[in-house]
């Protein structure tokens, strides 16, 4: 079920400055304390800043990008964006995913 747990971590980042501080001080400990619990895979992906894989698993991109905005897990907004582009490079090349060039009607 728990991509919800990842989404909730991202949302708390926006709303709880003390949670952000805890994530900066000891990210693994802060993530292990999160409720509902993250799976081992989710925790490892968060710690690695692997937002591409988390997006593939169904986490909300809107929420994930907050990790870049708050510069957690080695991310910045540009680095966040670069990782999403890299994960979705094939789809973006293919096409309709590419921004601003989808003629519609």
């Amino acid at each position: 079920m728990s991509v919800y747990a990842v989404d909730k971590v991202c949302r708390r980042v926006v709303r709880e400055p003390e949670f952000v501080e805890a994530l900066r001080a000891d990210p693994e400990r802060a993530l292990r304390a999160a409720q509902p619990p993250l799976t081992d895979e989710e925790r490892e992906l968060l710690l690695a800043g692997d937002v591409g894989r988390l997006g593939r698993m169904g986490a909300s991109f809107f929420l994930l990008h907050q990790l870049g905005r708050f510069e957690l897990f080695g991310l910045t907004l540009p680095e966040y964006a670069a990782r999403i582009r890299a994960e979705y490079a094939v789809e973006r090349r293919a096409s309709s995913l590419h921004p601003n060039q989808a003629p519609r009607r």
């Binding site: 966040y80 979705y88 995913l97 921004p99």
Partner: protein, 276 residues
């Protein structure tokens, strides 16, 4: 008796709002467009502004995500999500909000209520950039336009109709302006972002097309074309068009007195004058 005297549609990009608040270079066009709407808004002399918006995972998440909800409180402050934006603390029109909720629920629209709420950037960005130029109380009306499942375009338009009946049926003396906050095509953080940013406009043609339909007063066509597939194609924030559809439902369809798209941004600025 309460009366809807005007309607506006605006975007709420927080980075643009921040640049405007700081007086940065590079946002001159946004300044011009917000100012054009501010001038319309001042002429409307509103007592109350109903602002229709989509909560961005700030107010609603863990406990419940209502499809529609209205803010019923004496005051609210924000932003809850972008601490760099100017802090606001504004009066809400709890009296009229309560009447609207009771009226639309009696008409079978299941609109919840928030009795304590923080405003997020979707309200405070337009407030700082424009709405704050008038002394009016706010009524936040929330549409669940970003978390699936989204309400249908038809349902949102119909809710606007019910809100209109609620306002016109109120004995409160209020000049009301209805404002929609949101974009038509926008992707935040997702695979369809641009090459040089964490946001993108996956379907600029859709934003232009919607703007053209609105310019012609063809509201029903927007409703018909705003299918789930179209909203999905236009980006993960494109459900904000639903906020506009509620606003458009609150008056008889007609061309606006002002409308201009920023196609590369996926949004438009628009104003309708509805009463002297």
């Amino acid at each position: 008796m309460a009366e809807i005297v005007g309607a506006l549609g605006v975007p709420h990009n927080p980075f643009v709002a921040l640049a405007l608040a700081r007086g940065d270079d590079g946002v001159g066009e946004a300044r011009r467009l917000y100012d054009a709407l501010a001038s319309e808004l001042r002429a409307m002399k509103p007592d109350t502004i109903v602002i229709v918006t989509t909560d961005h995972y700030n107010l609603f998440f863990e406990v419940s995500v209502p499809i529609f909800s209205i803010g019923i409180a004496e005051r609210a402050a924000g932003p809850s999500d972008y601490p760099l934006l100017p802090r606001v603390d504004v009066a809400l029109d709890a009296e009229l909000a309560r009447e609207i909720q009771a009226s639309v629920v009696a008409e079978d629209f299941d609109v919840g209520a928030s009795r304590e709420l923080e405003l997020d950037h979707t309200i405070t960005a337009p407030l700082c950039s424009m709405l704050g130029t008038v002394d009016a109380a706010l009524i936040p009306l929330y549409v669940s336009g970003s978390m699936h499942p989204l309400p249908s375009a038809r349902r949102c338009f119909a809710l606007g109709r019910a809100v209109r009946r609620a306002i016109e049926g109120s004995s409160l003396a209020r000049r009301v302006v209805v404002v929609a906050s949101g974009a038509f095509s926008f992707e935040v953080g997702g695979p369809r972002m641009s090459e040089d940013s964490h946001v993108g406009v996956p379907d600029a043609a859709w934003a232009v097309h919607v703007t053209e339909l609105l310019a012609g007063g063809e509201f029903e066509r927007v409703v018909a074309e705003a299918t789930p597939a179209q909203l999905e194609a236009a980006g993960n924030a494109s459900g904000e068009l639903l906020d506009w559809l509620v606003m458009l439902g609150t008056f008889d369809a007609r061309p606006p007195v002002f409308i201009e798209a920023q196609a590369a941004e996926g949004h438009s600025f628009a104003a309708w004058r509805l009463a002297p």
